[in-house]
């Protein structure tokens, strides 16, 4: 008799634990202030990333199309997976000296792990981490970018 009683108690207790779990989920069904879902494409204008968020490497240019990059190649050395390549060219300055300046700062976004080591290595703060996160493309070659804009030149007063 006692065994039967215990058995029934066990079964009912089991049901009670199941109902408790249902209670938790049921509670959230009727408390709309607990909803956490974000609606991404709708809130796209308002969506703000955190200021340290690392989306891609960019090179800021000012309004005269000038950047701070001297082409020293420290970021290329610091990058652990070779996603930065610097192609430099030599020009003649006004006083007749040969000088190497940057031709192209090539950045492979498809290989970049956004580890921030290149930004730390840069002595003149020429490259920073950008906030853009929407990068999806149909063709892989579109992920290779040239960071210095065409016709840009180095800002005055940046020493190598």
């Amino acid at each position: 008799m006692k065994a039967l009683f215990n058995y029934i108690k066990e079964v009912l207790g089991g049901f009670y634990t199941l109902l408790q779990g249902l209670g938790v989920t049921g509670k959230y069904l009727f408390t709309p202030w607990n909803y956490v879902t974000q609606s991404y494409p709708e809130n796209r204008e308002k969506l703000q990333m955190f200021e340290r968020f690392r989306g891609e490497v960019i090179m800021p240019h000012n309004e005269n199309n000038e950047h701070k990059c001297t082409g020293c190649g420290l970021c290329e050395l610091a990058c652990p997976n070779g996603s930065i390549e610097i192609i430099s060219k030599s020009i003649l300055t006004e006083d007749g000296k040969k000088k190497r300046i940057i031709d192209k700062h090539i950045y492979h976004l498809g290989m970049c792990t956004l580890c921030n080591l290149c930004v730390r290595a840069c002595p003149s703060d020429a490259i920073i981490m950008g906030q853009k996160y929407e990068h999806a493309v149909y063709n892989r070659s579109n992920l290779t970018k040239v960071l210095n804009k065409p016709g840009s030149k180095i800002m005055e007063g940046i020493k190598e």
């Binding site: 199941l18 408790q20 989920t25 652990p80 792990t113 956004l114």
Partner: protein
């Protein structure tokens, strides 16, 4: 007719063959690309053979051609759920080799980040365990509570999971001004939400019936097979590196090393839930007392380790994580070996599953908390 009867009822003449079931490498319950070849008799598992290497990427070989600050970002990609501990292990190893003393502030922040990572890892493990046993609800609840931690990481480190926050000699940035407030908010929030986990899964009668007494690992076996972390502690094996070989700010805090004696699937589960409570206690002791000071010491431009061999162990979310560096005095290591906790924990699985049903194999595997890139490296 008589011959047939003789064959059917005289069991000597019936021949059976082993029945092999191949699970993986693309299977939702193997937590990644693990392949398990199970030898069955009917529904009963006789032995299993884990086949790994489906995400082997040669990190140890790559590290031999990278400099010390560069190779840290690869440790993020090994055990991505305890990325911060892996980073820290490499940094501590380099700092110990160079005998650099990091500021107190760094130690405190590293410890807080460690524990936040541990909570986030255990939450995700909780989701996965529930899903492996057929409870989809846990997936949504666990990942909901993980998002505030990821927000804290993203605000301070700049990435959600693979943040590369440690550098030799300290941290990459100082903490964000909102860090302390956010962490305290999170602890307050999570103290309310963690009892829900018990109500949803640990208190559930189906879950208890399925896990109690399943896959028992004794203490001696755990030591001999090198099972560490919560899986080892569930067998009563005191293996917490935070207690035995304290590093960073762990000597300054009071916490309990949770131990169980049963060593079955349920206790491996329960210990991780209790570890989340302990982690919250550690964070609460540290978060208000972060000392002022620098967030990194100045290191040389090119870091070269002295000749010799260096070993550093830390407690990651899955167990004892070790870094073994053989240096020949150059700027990159001569040989670098990661002692990953999952590697030892995986190979004990064969001992645990003998004689259980194949559905329980998934449950036992879930509570060992395997992360396959951690095993494959």
């Amino acid at each position: 007719m008589a011959e047939y009867r003789e064959i059917i009822f005289n069991s000597d003449k019936i021949q059976t063959d082993d029945y092999f079931v191949n699970i993986g490498p693309q299977h939702p319950s193997t937590h990644g690309a693990l392949r398990i070849v199970a030898k069955l008799e009917g529904e009963i598992v006789q032995s299993i053979d884990p086949v790994i290497g489906y995400i082997h990427s040669g990190i140890e070989k790559m590290c031999e051609s990278l400099s010390y600050p560069q190779l840290i970002h690869l440790t993020d990609r090994m055990d991505y759920l305890s990325a911060h501990m892996n980073n820290e292990a490499v940094c501590l190893c380099i700092e110990n080799a160079l005998q650099v003393e990091v500021p107190e502030r760094v130690k405190y922040i590293r410890t807080i980040m460690d524990e936040l990572t541990r909570i986030a890892s255990h939450q995700l493990w909780w989701c996965a365990t529930g899903m492996d046993m057929g409870a989809m609800t846990t997936f949504f609840y666990g990942l909901r509570d993980r998002e505030p931690i990821l927000d804290i990481f993203e605000e301070t480190c700049g990435a959600r999971m693979t943040f590369n926050y440690n550098v030799p000699g300290g941290l990459m940035f100082d903490i964000h001004p909102n860090f302390q407030k956010r962490v305290k908010d999170f602890i307050r929030y999570f103290r309310k939400k963690l009892p829900e986990y018990d109500t949803l899964l640990s208190g559930n009668v189906i879950f208890k019936e399925r896990t109690k007494g399943l896959g028992v690992l004794s203490k001696e076996e755990a030591i001999a097979w090198g099972v560490t972390g919560p899986s080892g502690r569930a067998s009563g094996y005191s293996c917490d590196v935070r207690k035995l070989h304290p590093y960073s700010a762990y000597p300054y805090v009071k916490f309990e090393e949770k131990l169980a004696t049963d060593g079955d699937t349920f206790w491996r589960y329960q210990l991780r839930i209790e570890e989340m409570w302990e982690s919250m206690k550690i964070i609460e002791q540290l978060i208000d007392n972060i000392p002022e000071g620098d967030f990194a010491v100045k290191m040389k431009g090119v870091i070269k380790l002295p000749e010799g061999e260096f070993y550093q162990r830390v407690e990651s979310a899955r167990g004892e994580f070790g870094v073994f560096i053989v240096s020949d005095g150059k700027k990159n290591p001569y040989r670098l070996k990661f002692r990953s906790p999952g590697f030892s924990n995986l190979f004990v699985l064969n001992e645990l599953v003998k004689g259980v049903k194949i559905a329980d194999l998934v449950a036992i595997m879930a509570t060992l908390d395997l992360v396959i890139p951690d095993i494959d490296r």
